[in-house]
């Protein structure tokens, strides 16, 4: 292995692992960064990285274009509150910017209480680790917010896993935990991989290097089954693709269980030894034979039998679940059925099956190349952000218990996601009930923008009215332009030290060093900025840290490996063993089994039952569709899905980077060939897409790969090249697909939204259109009018006071 830092001629070459910014999930791809005179001259893949082996996606290959982009913000800036929405930013010093934030926060804490300050985290970036710490440890507030309706990205899958298995996130086994990879003794390739609502090549894969699927297809003949309304490129290389109606996945998954049980394609011995409630699950699935699922899903019945047989017969088999599990009010049940499918084969945590992690990120740290398992979990003062906040008196137990918005209504969400409930938080912002919120921070989050938040027009109106707002980011964006008073410039992944662990360490294949290669402008890392503001507000806690490394060693690395050692190794493989449940590596008590109430994989979920949810999976049709709303759906005859990725963009990011933008210059709506004819739309036409919530415009791509009756709209599009001031706001409202989808249409436990099953209409229009400004076009639903538009599920629990929830 080469050194982490070496000299070649006049260049210094750093080996490092990527996380963010720019946006990405913790995949930790290996980089070699060439630096000359303090400036990056080249970024290439690191051939010595055991997972990526020199490969890189376009975003890191274009990293120099990002870090040295003329529009990047590289100095702190401030703006008067009355100038929100106008480009009247002024450069200021770090000291002044930190003072402004700390002083505003202190005044609000003194006058209204710390809970009236909230901190938003976005998707994927490192700040996902830090936004709860910003809230809890800097401001003493319980209200960190991930603004996607129903917390519908990753959180539902993490929670499903925690409730039913108790272990870390399940992932395809591509020998990712071993330095000798596919040569590892005992490893075998999956015979069949199911990609369910997931396209691993282009998705932003949380921790998986997606193209490993192609490696296994080419080298080992691994077959694929895809379950997706789209025939995506990987689908054309698959054995079977089930192009189902959007949002009907739970019916499909139940039908697979029906087939696999009927034809004895399950590992009955394993099921008896390690699961709870299999017979009840099978009995439930008798209500969903393939004939019925075929009708619901719009898929040929014979193909369902074939797919379930192919999966059930494969030895071993693996199942990857995607965002479609989360972005569905019926997704909690889908996740439940898919965990059943991953486990009843007996291939969970088996070689070539679906791997499990050692546990949550509080306990799962490697030591000397081997795992610290759950039984060795460190129970000390470092253990959690919450414990630290309580111990140092930064946040009171009462504040945590009674002021975190929405978790009284949705305790299942609050139990795993240590944040507010997003939809409930939005209502609180608008109605000032249970209390008025006064200040927001946005650390790598852009809820007014085009990435994660449903009805961003409502977030926009609510957030711009707050007393004081600040943001940490790299570029100006619609949220900061419209709402913020202070801008902290954030260092990119190659401008700061740190650690990246795949799947946020919940199922780590390796731990990678992010090594600082250069300094750009005055940028500082998320942690450095948090420390600077923290020291002003709570010096007793924060003054122990002088440098980022101090904080990394304290809170990131914990006790297993000082950062300096990780830096030199660059990559430390987790080398976790298989069958951890058999050898007592999952449970805190060191006993064999799973860390659940019953010690087994709970196919019949006692946790769901405790929260008043059905303990077994059931199918519920999409909230917005022909079946649920037969009259309204006549005006909106198509089903829309959104969120499929372009690998050269990360959500709303990268639209300024010419090398990337030119690959997809405009947002595309994919329309089935026959639908395009029926609606009089041709390739390259501008199309207006309307839902009961608003209208936007995207460019038509006519393709036979879309299921008839279904369109796909790209997310994340705005136009940083356009006028940034309100009302245009960088064209934020022109093509923003999130404007078409509601908040507060969640599942019973509080997870799920309509991003992948929303009814729409389409028509041909001329051009991209005007600013579509929600301040003037009347599309913002006032709280009093929301009920008439929002589908109210009959089971929706009444708002219960927080103290009642705490009694439970």
């Amino acid at each position: 292995m080469s050194e982490w830092k070496r000299q070649e001629g006049d260049e210094t070459i750093f080996r490092t692992c990527a996380w963010s910014p720019p946006g990405c999930h913790p995949v930790g791809c290996g980089l070699q960064v060439h630096v000359k005179d303090g400036v990056v001259v080249d970024v290439e893949g690191d051939p010595e990285h055991p997972i990526t082996k020199g490969s890189l996606c376009p975003r890191c290959l274009a990293l120099t274009d990002y870090i040295y982009h003329p529009d990047r913000i590289i100095h702190p800036m401030k703006r008067a509150k009355e100038d929100r929405g106008l480009d009247k930013w002024q450069q200021c010093s770090w000291d002044e910017a930190c003072d402004m934030v700390a002083n505003a926060a202190q005044e609000i804490i003194d006058n209204y209480g710390p809970e009236t300050i909230c901190v938003f985290g976005g998707t994927g970036r490192e700040a996902n680790y830090w936004y709860t710490q910003w809230a809890n440890l800097v401001f003493g507030s319980p209200n960190s917010v991930y603004a996607q309706a129903g917390w519908s990205c990753y959180g539902p899958r993490i929670s499903n896993t925690a409730f039913m298995i108790g272990g870390g996130y399940p992932e395809i086994d591509y020998a990712q935990k071993f330095s000798d990879r596919y040569d590892h003794e005992g490893w075998v390739a999956p015979e069949v991989i199911v990609c369910w609502g997931k396209e691993p090549l282009r998705s932003n894969p949380d921790g998986m290097y997606g193209h490993a699927v192609i490696e296994m297809m080419r080298q080992f003949g691994t077959k694929l089954i895809c379950v997706d309304p789209r025939m995506h490129w990987l689908g054309t290389r698959s054995d079977i693709v089930l192009q189902l109606n959007p949002g009907t996945d739970t019916a499909m998954a139940m039908a697979w269980i029906y087939v696999m049980d009927k034809e004895n394609l399950v590992d009955r011995e394993w099921i008896d030894a390690w699961t709870y409630g299999y017979d009840a699950l099978v009995e439930r699935c008798q209500s969903m034979p393939p004939s019925k699922a075929a009708e619901i899903c719009g898929v040929d019945e014979e193909l369902i039998w074939q797919a379930a047989r192919l999966y059930g017969s494969a030895k071993p088999s693996s199942l990857a679940w995607g965002l479609a599990v989360d972005q569905n009010p019926n997704g909690t049940q889908l996740g439940q059925a898919l965990i059943a499918l991953m486990t009843i084969t007996g291939f969970i945590d088996a070689p070539g099956g679906t791997t499990l992690g050692m546990g949550d990120d509080g306990g799962n740290r490697v030591k000397e190349g081997g795992g610290i398992d759950a039984s060795q979990r460190i129970e000390d003062e470092n253990d959690s952000t919450l414990m630290l906040a309580l111990k140092y008196g930064i946040m009171s137990q009462e504040t945590w218990d009674t002021k975190r918005i929405g978790v009284d209504k949705y305790p299942a969400v609050g139990s795993i996601m240590w944040t507010a409930h997003p939809d409930e938080f939005l209502k609180a912002l608008e109605t000032e009930n249970p209390y008025k919120v006064h200040m927001a921070g946005f650390v790598s989050s852009n809820p007014v923008g085009t990435a994660i938040s449903a009805e961003p027009q409502r977030w926009y109106k609510a957030l711009k009215a707050l007393d004081f707002n600040f943001a940490c980011d790299c570029f100006m964006n619609p949220t900061i332009m419209s709402c913020c008073d202070v801008f902290f410039p954030v260092a990119s992944t190659i401008e700061h030290d740190g650690m990246v662990a795949t799947h946020y360490a919940s199922n780590a294949s390796f731990y990678g060093a992010q090594n600082k290669c250069v300094q750009v402008g005055e940028c500082k890392s998320d942690i450095e900025i948090m420390m600077m503001v923290g020291k002003k507000l709570h010096p007793d806690f924060w003054n122990r840290f002088e440098t980022q490394e101090d904080y990394d060693n304290f809170h990131v690395m914990r006790s297993w490996l000082p950062f300096k050692e990780l830096r030199e190794k660059v990559v430390v493989m987790s080398e976790e063993p298989y069958y951890k449940y058999k050898i007592g590596k999952l449970r805190p008590d060191g006993q064999p089994g799973f860390p659940t109430m019953t010690g087994r994989v709970e196919l019949y979920s006692t946790m769901y039952q405790n929260w008043g949810e059905d303990p077994l999976p059931y199918y519920e049709p999409p909230a917005y569709g022909k079946e649920s709303l037969p009259e309204l759906s006549k005006q909106y005859p198509l089903m829309m899905i959104t969120g499929a990725r372009e690998q050269h963009f990360f959500h709303s990011e990268h639209k300024q980077i010419q090398a990337l933008r030119q690959l997809t210059p405009w947002p595309m709506i994919d329309i089935n060939t026959q639908d395009a004819l029926d609606f009089g739309i041709a390739e390259g036409d501008w199309v207006e897409i309307s839902s009961p919530y608003g209208s936007i415009r995207q460019l038509a791509r006519v393709t036979p790969t879309m299921k008839k009756g279904v369109v796909h709209c790209m997310h994340g599009f705005w136009y940083p090249e356009e006028d940034g001031e309100v009302p245009n706001l960088y064209g934020n409202w022109k093509s923003n697909v999130n404007m078409l989808m509601p908040n507060s249409v969640n599942g019973k436990l509080g997870f799920g939204d309509t991003f992948k099953q929303m009814m729409v209409n389409i028509k041909k229009v001329v051009g991209l259109g005007g600013s579509n400004d929600p301040d003037t076009n009347g599309i913002i639903l006032e709280p009093s009018r929301q009920a008439e538009f929002t589908v109210q599920q009959v089971w929706r629990p009444e708002d219960a006071p927080t103290d009642q929830y705490l009694q439970k």
């Binding site: 890189l56 376009p58 274009a62 193209h211 192609i214 490129w233 290389r237 010419q658 036979p704």
Partner: protein
């Protein structure tokens, strides 16, 4: 030494464009130029129901097969960056051997 060439298994080229950008950075050429270019033959369903949808990356006249990188013992930038690892570098003869072993949806380019 025999002339160098690029082998591609385009059955599995996913069209990610990594090769294009890696090459452009290496050659230090503008965004409107390419040393290797990913082409797409857009999807359609064949008579037998099977799907056709191919990407293929081919080197242009700006490609020098990364002479300087190869001289240093490195792979050409496109080959190294390729996420699907479907691009390979070798002599024409070596690439022909690869083609013999995979006589389906594969090609050799000599820029």
């Amino acid at each position: 030494m025999s002339h160098g060439a690029i082998y591609i298994d385009f059955e599995f080229c996913s069209g990610c464009h990594s090769c294009e950008i890696a090459c452009r950075k290496h050659l230090r050429i503008a965004n409107d130029k390419d040393g290797i270019k990913v082409l797409e033959d857009r999807p359609y369903q064949q008579e037998n129901g099977a799907w056709h949808w191919d990407y293929i990356a081919y080197p242009t006249e700006l490609c020098d097969l990364c002479e300087d990188r190869v001289a240093e013992g490195k792979l050409p930038s496109c080959v190294q960056a390729c996420q699907a690892k479907v691009l390979e570098f070798g002599t024409i003869e070596e690439c022909a051997e690869k083609l013999k072993k995979k006589p389906k949806k594969a090609a050799i380019f000599v820029p």
